[in-house]
Subunit: 284 residues, 2 copies
């Protein structure tokens, strides 16, 4: 059943391609239209089956029943400000950015009543950029956060239908709470990975670092393969809570470093960290 | 051709099991004898094909032509001090610890002339503990560091033969240089992963952190699945150079954090880090 009607996805990168492909294989959309300012990305995304048709401009997205903004964060905010006021009453407006306060704020001020707007964040990304990095199957059972912009129950219900249509698990939460948690689980990890990569690069100018960079280094820096400008955009959008998370991270590091000379005490503390990770992973 | 003669491996955990299995499938050893203080690990390692026979005690390892110490670092040092003086002239004594200065120092003071001793570090570990974590195929083409304890050319030659017999790539380097680099490529990454896991565990006590811990969090904390006491042992053994690497890491982090409010400048810096990682990985 095509419960979602016509869906337009603005942004045919990794996330837009993943969502379009999952939607089309699920069959809940009457049609999926795609737009991207980069014609190569658009073509590649369509070739991967992410859409039935290409839109000539982002403007045409407002005709759809569901509009998904899947661009980097500053562009999401700009699109909400530009197209939000012209969105069709009764339609669903959803985004996919990984920092939600700025998006929800823009939706509150630019989207007229009658349009069902909700912030979204599908937690199923990869580090491969563009359409080639899309893994529609990763959406299966993945958390897809929905952040209400007010008390529009119909917006949340429509958001849930969309999330279920791509095979993910709707998780409704406050934008502030979302941003606070992803600062720890995603944003700080991105910073650590890029800083570690930069340090290894510097050391590598004088020493055979590549030869001693094993699988552990690869996984520890995997997030540093992410698109730099997209990453910079969500880090900047969440700067205050990233700094707060870094405070907590610094405390955790200090506790470990203080025990570097006492392998037994250090081992106990490491065991607690390892157990925390195992618990978090088992809970999902 | 059984060029290595009889090999004894002390420590039937992940590394000992990996080396024993690779040796036996390569056919360069006349036989592989295994020992572990943990009878379950020993049995499981033998069941995985890592040895032809179990040794009754570590004492019996001295009868072999090649003795491999594959235990955590403090135990490697203790074994060198205890059995080193009784090692057979002409035999090869090799270890697998991931901090090499302490090992090379112990070999210098406890191993008599005529015994060919060399520090070793196969860079093909996994985060799954014990024999079950052994991936013998990961040795194929992997860097296997050899750290000379002096100018014993025969020790290096024997070490090379051993490394080639398990399918790895011998990489001869100074223990100090090794410890300096792995502080950056492995030891600091372990600390970061455990600290991040600990922080997420704390945040998770009050907030739905597990739901927002996606693949990025998993890879960023993958090293925190490592055995805590083994990890604590090599971090402690390399504490001074870990602190030095942490200084460099702090500088790299400060540079990123200083640009959190300027997405464009931050993006440029992230791009440089990402490029450094890509270069290091391409060089291997």
């Amino acid at each position: 059943v095509t419960t979602l009607g016509h869906v337009a996805i603005v942004g045919a990168g990794q996330v837009g391609t993943m969502l379009g492909t999952a939607l089309r294989s699920g069959g809940a959309a009457a049609g999926v239209a795609l737009f991207d300012t980069d014609p190569d990305a658009l073509e590649s995304s369509l070739a991967r089956g992410a859409g039935d048709v290409a839109l000539e401009s982002a403007d045409h997205a407002v005709d759809a029943d569901v509009v998904v903004l899947a661009t980097p964060i500053p562009e999401i905010v700009r699109l909400i400000e530009t197209f939000g006021p012209r969105a069709r009453p009764g339609s669903l407006l959803l985004d996919t950015g990984s920092a939600k306060r700025v998006v929800v704020r823009a939706m509150r001020s630019s989207v007229p009543p009658g349009v069902h707007a909700v912030g979204g964040h599908p937690m199923a990304g990869t580090e491969t950029r563009g359409p080639a990095g899309a893994r529609p199957e990763a959406l299966s059972g993945a958390t897809f956060v929905l952040c209400p912009i007010g008390d529009d129950e119909a917006a949340i219900a429509a958001g849930r239908s969309f999330v279920e249509a791509v095979g993910a698990r709707p998780f409704v939460m406050d934008a502030d709470e979302h941003d606070r948690i992803v600062a720890v689980t995603s944003h700080v990890p991105h910073l650590l990975a890029f800083a570690l990569a930069a340090l290894a690069g510097r050391v590598g100018e004088a020493r055979p670092t590549a030869d001693l960079a094993s699988t552990g280094f690869r996984s520890a820096t995997r997030l540093a393969a992410s698109d730099p400008s997209t990453t910079a955009a969500f880090l900047s959008a969440n700067a205050d809570l990233v700094l707060e998370a870094l405070d907590g991270f610094g405390t955790a590091m200090d506790e470990l470093v203080a025990r570097l000379d006492d392998a037994e005490a250090l081992g106990d503390l490491l065991a607690a960290g390892g157990a925390a990770r195992a618990r978090l992973i088992a809970e999902r």
